[in-house]
């Protein structure tokens, strides 16, 4: 992973209520209980989080836990009550309106849960909209828009109006619109939550395909853990406005920071998520009849392992043996809740 920080949140707070600035700047206790006692809604509490170039960071949490609010602080759609957000090293709070508009026009793209398409514009006009407000001439912008429309698989629908499209298709327009300016950072706020499960799957695949071509830096919100696992490089879990833990899915499961995270990840099928590495017995580096790469997900190789008679050797990326694994462990993972 490239270590360049694209977004950097430092002690970001967002409280709703009556004059929250005063409360934040006072010497009052800022614990969750005390915030609530003072009749503030803790939308974001003291969030410190970085987004690195090229990664997909998924923010998860229950409804009302502050995911959208945190995302909107990152894109400066809302001003944080306290704290700073840096975008490529520049503090968003210190930017002028004009600079902010420039950043949004060229570096940020956002996709919304309910698509937020403009009803009076056709597909191509919607997609070309961010280019239009930049003052790009019609021919150029429609040419660029057509390209993106093709990319999301909506060829032939350019002249349709949003009301003539299905939910999945509408969200493809949303994706295309957010990509039209070739942004560096891509914000997605529960983009697939309003879609049927089947379509959602399809859109997730589409999304991964797009990302494999485009390599954007992505902040993605969902409350669906399956979705998070499929898409995320790292996952941040929020609880009542606070970020409880940030890490890979595997880290969250094997090493939950709090009971809340443990509870949250309880129902996740481990086999889908854990790699052989996390189960390998590192003390046994004998050569067995079968070798498997340590980065394989358990679910994908469990059949092979269960069929084999003996233990199995685990290798690293250079095919060196780094440990071994036996059936019992796999059985335990597969069948234990």
């Amino acid at each position: 992973m490239n270590s360049e920080k694209i977004i950097n949140c430092q002690n970001v707070w967002k409280l709703y209520g009556n004059n929250p600035e005063k409360f934040i700047n006072s010497s009052e206790d800022k614990s969750l209980e005390n915030i609530k006692k003072n009749n503030f809604i803790p939308a974001v509490r003291d969030a410190n989080i970085d987004v690195y170039k090229g990664e997909i960071l998924v923010i998860m949490g229950l409804s009302g836990s502050g995911k959208s609010t945190l995302l909107r602080c990152m894109s400066k759609l809302i001003d944080p009550t306290e704290g700073k957000v840096f975008f490529q090293g520049k503090s968003l709070t210190d930017l002028s309106q004009k600079e902010l508009i420039e950043i949004r026009r060229h570096k940020m793209g956002m996709v919304f849960q309910h698509f937020a398409l403009l009803p009076h514009r056709s597909v191509i006009q919607n997609v070309a909209f961010p280019l239009e407000v930049q003052g790009i001439d019609r021919e150029t912008r429609e040419e660029r828009a057509s390209k993106v429309i093709k990319l999301v698989g909506l060829e032939g629908r350019e002249k349709y109006y949003p009301r003539e499209l299905s939910g999945g298709q509408q969200q493809r327009v949303g994706l295309a619109r957010s990509l039209a300016v070739e942004p560096e950072v891509w914000f997605l706020d529960e983009p697939f939550s309003a879609l049927d499960p089947l379509i959602r799957k399809e859109m997730q695949n589409e999304f991964l395909k797009l990302q494999s071509m485009l390599h954007k830096t992505i902040v993605f919100i969902t409350h669906d853990f399956d979705e998070a696992i499929r898409l995320a490089d790292r996952i941040a879990i929020m609880y009542e406005g606070g970020i409880v833990q940030v890490g890979t899915a595997e880290q969250l499961i094997t090493n939950p920071a709090t009971d809340y995270v443990a509870e949250f990840t309880k129902d996740i099928p481990r086999a889908k998520l854990l790699t052989l590495n996390s189960l390998a017995d590192k003390s046994d580096v004998n050569e067995y009849s079968m070798r498997l790469s340590g980065s394989e997900k358990i679910i994908n190789v469990s059949a092979k392992i269960l069929k084999s008679e003996s233990n199995i050797s685990i290798t690293d990326s250079n095919n060196n043996i780094i440990g071994s694994i036996n059936k019992d462990k796999i059985i335990k993972i597969l069948f234990e809740k």
Partner: protein
């Protein structure tokens, strides 16, 4: 007995003090009964307790000669505005019916309007709308023996100026109000008052500052018609979803781009409905504005009505109604029209509307050269059935003279007169106490004080006695409307088919400009309180019917199912389940009905009632701006008092039923 007390304690709380104040009246001096005069406006003046009228007139006098920056007077400013309007009006009049003589250009031939209406109707919705539009212009051209066509074009040219300007002003106010909370908060009560002021109050002020004639009519219309546009614009802009706004911001919109490319287009159905409302208000003013000399259909309708030439009035009335319905349906269709995908192919295929419009325009121009029928149907070929109508009306009224006369006299002697007398015996202090106590029960002190101030204003203005007569007319009408509208609503809510029929009737009736209702009233009952109440009742039964249907049909389904399973009969269901749940909506319907009735009472003054409306007509004749405005405010405050109380009551009921929190 104690149970009785606790059950009706709210009513007793209001009625006992009210009844007491009424009962002790004979023991009290006259100031208790009729608001006393004071010496504030100079002793011996005709004014009331507080000389509002004098103050306003002083203000008007001051304004007239007030010099802005020492450059020109306020009156010069208003006069130049009306000059500006006048020249625009000359232009539209030239287009519609005068032609540009010095350029040798003829006015639009009727066949072109006819064709365009058909094409546009087809484009907007379908053949029915096209038929309506076509029929409208066909009627105007054919039934033109008494100049209906010219009059209609005169009316249309006035609307062509007033509607766009009014919509534009309304839109601007709406945008600013949606963006600036302070402006919104200041504007809102002004809109409330403006919308409950009777039309005639505007007329007087407009006549004073802008003169008389069609231009003044246009200006009065603009002022009268813009508030709904503003309201709907605010509603639309506030209703734009947060996500769409955020999408706009994230696309990098500047403030103006945001407004013009995201917010206004997203709010467009609201805004278009606003335009529809503006057009309807303009039509409502067609007749009323003729009081300050606007020419057109309204002026002639009024004249015929005054001379009791009912057949001719009827013919003109039909023209007005035709135009009203056509403009209403067209603008509604425009509001609901979704953008459509262009078809593939050549220009004709891609733009069928534009190309066929061009064809119609060219075609009708060519036709006018071939045959003069196309530009105007020659007089000898136009028809009028007013003669036949007249004899028919005469026949009906003579054959119905006895029963109708008997009915009228019965109503007058046994119902209306006693009620009127009862209202006139109300002591003003008792009325103030009455509204105050209701307000206190429904809301809190704030509501009570507001409504008491409203009533006090009326009492202090010096028009108390007249106001009581207005109140009596409104209340009687309200009761009759409820007796008609609620059962009708109950009947209509039984199934979809009935609902649709009744709603269609309501829609159509509501499109009629209010003066039209005087026609049948005068035909049937001559000039009396009965005819006034008759006109008020037909017009004002619409909202109560609508709201009853709405309330009954919008009861959550699970409640209905629950009561079916608990074994309610149909009748029990209606009275024990549905009606209580629909009650808040019915209250809102009554509120609307009352507003309609107030408007109509003012218009009914034209056929000779002796309440506030008569005073306002007098003020109009003498161009007494202060009087006109103050009486207008009295009427507005009657409306606003009832509005505050009924809405508060409805809200309270809704809260009790858990519909709102």
């Amino acid at each position: 007995m104690p149970r009785f007390f606790s059950k009706y304690k709210n009513f007793l709380f209001v009625l006992v003090p009210f009844g007491f104040l009424w009962a002790i009246k004979p023991l009290m001096p006259s100031w208790f009964f009729i608001p006393p005069k004071s010496c504030l406006g100079g002793c011996g003046s005709i004014e009331g307790m507080i000389p509002f009228v004098g103050w306003i007139n002083t203000g008007i006098k001051f304004l007239k000669s007030y010099e802005i920056f020492g450059l020109f007077t306020f009156r010069e400013l208003t006069r130049s505005i009306s000059k500006g309007i006048d020249s625009v009006l000359n232009f539209t009049e030239a287009i519609f019916y005068n032609g540009f003589e010095n350029l040798g250009i003829e006015p639009l031939p009727w066949i072109m309007l006819f064709g365009l209406a058909i094409v546009y109707g087809l484009y907007l919705r379908g053949w029915r709308l096209a038929l309506l539009g076509g029929a409208c212009f066909f009627y105007l051209a054919l039934f033109s023996l008494r100049g209906i066509y010219e009059l209609s074009m005169e009316t249309l040219s006035a609307i062509a100026v007033s509607a766009p300007l009014s919509a534009l002003i309304g839109l601007l106010f709406g945008i600013v109000a949606a963006k600036r909370k302070r402006f919104h908060d200041a504007l809102w009560p002004v809109l409330n008052v403006l919308q409950s002021l009777p039309h005639f109050s505007y007329l007087i002020i407009v006549a004073i500052f802008f003169g008389v004639g069609s231009k003044a009519g246009v200006i009065a219309t603009i002022i009268f018609a813009f508030p709904p546009m503003t309201r709907l614009t605010i509603l639309g802009l506030k209703g734009v979803s947060q996500e769409i706004k955020e999408a706009g911001i994230m696309a990098g919109c500047s403030k103006w781009q945001m407004l013009f490319k995201v917010e206004i287009p997203s709010a467009r159905s609201s805004i278009m409905l606003g335009i529809n409302q503006v057009i309807m208000q303009c039509l409502a003013m067609v007749v009323i504005a003729s009081f300050i000399g606007q020419k057109g259909l309204g002026h002639d309708l009024l004249a015929r009505l005054q001379n009791l030439r009912l057949g001719q009035a009827f013919e003109i009335g039909v023209a007005v109604v035709f135009i009203a319905i056509t403009l209403d349906r067209f603008s509604q269709a425009m509001a609901l029209k979704e953008p459509e995908r262009l078809k593939e192919g050549n220009f004709f295929k891609r733009h069928p509307f534009i190309s066929s419009s061009i064809l119609v325009i060219l075609g009708s121009v060519i036709l006018t050269f071939i045959n003069p029928f196309a530009s105007r149907i020659p007089t000898e070929y136009t028809i009028s059935i007013s003669g036949q109508l007249n004899s028919m009306i005469k026949f009906i009224t003579t054959s119905l003279f006895n029963p109708l006369g008997a009915f009228r006299d019965f109503m007058l002697v046994y119902i209306l007169m006693p009620t009127k007398a009862a209202f006139q015996s109300l002591p003003w202090i008792a009325v103030i106490a009455f509204v105050g106590l209701i307000g206190y029960r429904l809301g809190k002190l704030r509501l009570a004080i507001t409504v008491m101030l409203f009533v006090f204003f009326i009492a202090a203005s010096g028009y108390w006695v007249r106001a009581l007569i207005t109140l009596y007319m409104v209340c009687v009408s309200l009761v009759i409307c409820a007796l008609i509208g609620i059962p009708l609503g109950i009947w209509a809510s039984k199934n979809d088919k009935r609902t649709k029929i009744v709603q269609n009737i309501c829609d159509t009736f509501q499109t009629f400009p209010s003066f039209i209702y005087l026609l049948p009233a005068v035909m049937l009952f001559q000039i009396s309180d009965v005819s006034a109440i008759f006109a008020i009742v037909i017009y004002s039964s619409i909202p109560i019917t609508r709201y009853t249907i709405f309330g009954l049909r919008n009861i959550p389904n699970h409640i209905i199912e629950a009561s079916i399973t608990s074994g309610c009969t149909e009748r029990q269901m209606l009275w024990k389940v549905k009606m209580p749940l629909a009650f808040p909506e019915i209250l809102l319907g009554l509120n609307q009905t009352l507003m309609f009735a107030l408007f109509m009472v003012m218009i009914a003054g034209f056929i000779g009632t002796v309440d506030l409306s008569q005073e306002i007509f007098r003020a109009l004749t003498f161009a007494d701006g202060g009087k006109g405005l103050i009486i207008g405010l009295c009427v507005a405050f009657i409306g606003l008092t009832a509005d505050r109380l009924l809405v508060a009551w409805s809200d309270l009921q809704k809260k009790k039923l858990g519909f709102i929190s």
